[in-house]
């Protein structure tokens, strides 16, 4: 994942960038997700029945779509 240096490929948060992340586990309405070796806690309140192994489109630490 990048920071917001314009020389980097893309800012993951400022724009409308979606990152595909794999769910590792779900706890207290938050899913621990992984992409490219990095883990983030992701809010999954907008999605139905998320479980380990699901692939999510994540934007600003929120799962928007189950892929």
């Amino acid at each position: 994942m990048t920071d917001c240096d314009p020389r980097e490929e893309r800012c993951i948060t400022c724009g409308d960038v979606g990152v595909e992340m794999r769910v590792v586990r779900v706890e207290d309405g938050l899913a621990l997700c992984e992409a490219e070796g990095e883990q983030r806690e992701v809010e999954v309140a907008l999605l139905d029945a998320v479980s380990a192994g699901d692939l999510l489109l994540v934007h600003a630490d929120v799962g928007l779509v189950k892929l």
Binding site: T13, C14, G15, D16, L64
Partner: protein, 371 residues
């Protein structure tokens, strides 16, 4: 990687480019606007425009959330950030957006506690870790990002985090598109619709474009083949005298969006009567504030802000760039006084801004490679 490699296949790209050539009328000039800054970035990163016929022009729209923030809102943020006891949080690009008297990064260098976060949830974590400080999140973005802010405010409320608040600069995509379609100095033939905004709002809100203005819309993904295919679908509609909303990005975008996200936004936000967009001026009902139910988490009510409108620098032509009236390299300060390191205009700040995309990928003038 699944959903990526197959959408970057060069041979397939050449095939779609040939299909595009097959549906354009020689002698007709087509102007297609990509609404979203993410598309602008992809087009120049992958050289998508080099695969298009000479008479198909891509026009870059206002869909970069950083680029449309007016200077006065940056000044408001800096005023809050300078208050004693405040930890001010925002996305990284916002740090370098110029206000009338410097950037948030300048204010940070002068001692303000300003921290970059990847999400509103990160800002809430800081608030929980620092209960004696006021933590303010400067929220920007279209409908893609607004649900993240909404869910975080709902979580702050549920967990009783009282030292957290939000400056809400969220904007909505439809009003500026309508403003562009009403603009007399811009003639467009069709729109590449925003992919990730549509995961939230769906495709339905764009139906007014074919219905009221007779222009096709194709919602597209962000890989080069997504964009090429969307351009082909738009041009095919024009060739067949069709005009409708189509969804090229159906593998991700449901036609009706995400109802849970829309419900969260309806709960937490209310429409502002009007909001200033950089370069586009004031547009009615084009932005969100916190709803009365969440007024206690509204930083603009918690702290005094200047709230002064600031005119853009005269040398900067971001307005014309955002409306697609001029190309970035036609701006007087592009690549000279205005660079990503020392941006005068917001379009040069964000990697999704049209000027930064042109600059970073070496598009200093119209030098297309035609096949």
């Amino acid at each position: 990687m699944k959903f990526v490699d197959e959408f970057r296949d060069g041979a397939l790209g050449q095939k779609v480019a040939a299909q595009i050539l097959g549906v354009v009328e020689p002698g007709r000039h087509y102007k297609v606007m990509e609404v979203c800054g993410g598309h602008t970035h992809s087009i120049y990163r992958y050289g998508v425009d080099d695969l298009l016929p000479e008479n198909v022009e891509l026009v870059h729209g206002p869909g970069c959330p950083v680029c449309v923030i007016p200077m006065g809102r940056v000044d408001d943020g800096i005023a809050i950030a300078r208050r004693p006891g405040v930890i001010f949080t925002c996305f990284g690009d916002m740090l370098r957006v110029p206000g009338s008297n410097g950037t948030l990064l300048d204010a940070k260098a002068q001692g303000a506690d300003i921290r970059m976060v990847y999400s509103p949830l990160d800002a809430l974590r800081i608030a929980k870790a620092e209960p004696d400080r006021e933590v303010v999140f400067f929220a920007i973005g279209f409908e893609t990002t607004a649900p993240s802010t909404a869910l975080t405010l709902m979580r702050a409320r549920a967990e009783g985090v009282e030292n957290f608040s939000c400056v809400c600069n969220h904007v909505t995509i439809v009003p500026p598109l309508r403003a562009l379609l009403e603009s007399p100095d811009l003639r467009l033939d069709g729109f590449i619709g925003p992919g990730h905004v549509s995961t939230v709002v769906g495709a339905r809100p764009f139906e007014f474009i074919p219905a009221d203005y007779g222009r096709p819309v194709v919602i597209a993904g962000f890989e080069p083949l997504d964009i090429l295919q969307a351009i082909h679908m738009i041009l095919a509609q024009l060739a067949e005298r069709r005009c409708e909303v189509e969804n090229q990005y159906a593998r991700v975008v449901p036609y009706d969006g995400n109802p849970a996200a829309l419900a969260a936004m309806a709960d937490v936000f209310a429409l502002r009567p009007h909001f200033e967009w950089r370069g586009l001026g004031f547009i009615s009902q084009s932005a969100l504030r916190l709803s009365d139910a969440y007024a206690d988490l509204d930083a603009e009510r918690r702290f005094p802000v200047p709230g002064v409108r600031v005119a853009d620098p005269k040398a900067c032509q971001c307005g014309e760039v955002l409306k697609g009236v001029i190309k970035p390299w036609e701006c007087k300060v592009f690549g000279t006084a205005c660079t990503p390191e020392h941006a005068i205009g917001t379009c040069m700040v964000s990697p999704e801004g049209a000027c930064a995309a042109y600059y970073n990928y070496g598009r200093f003038a119209r030098d297309r490679v035609l096949s």
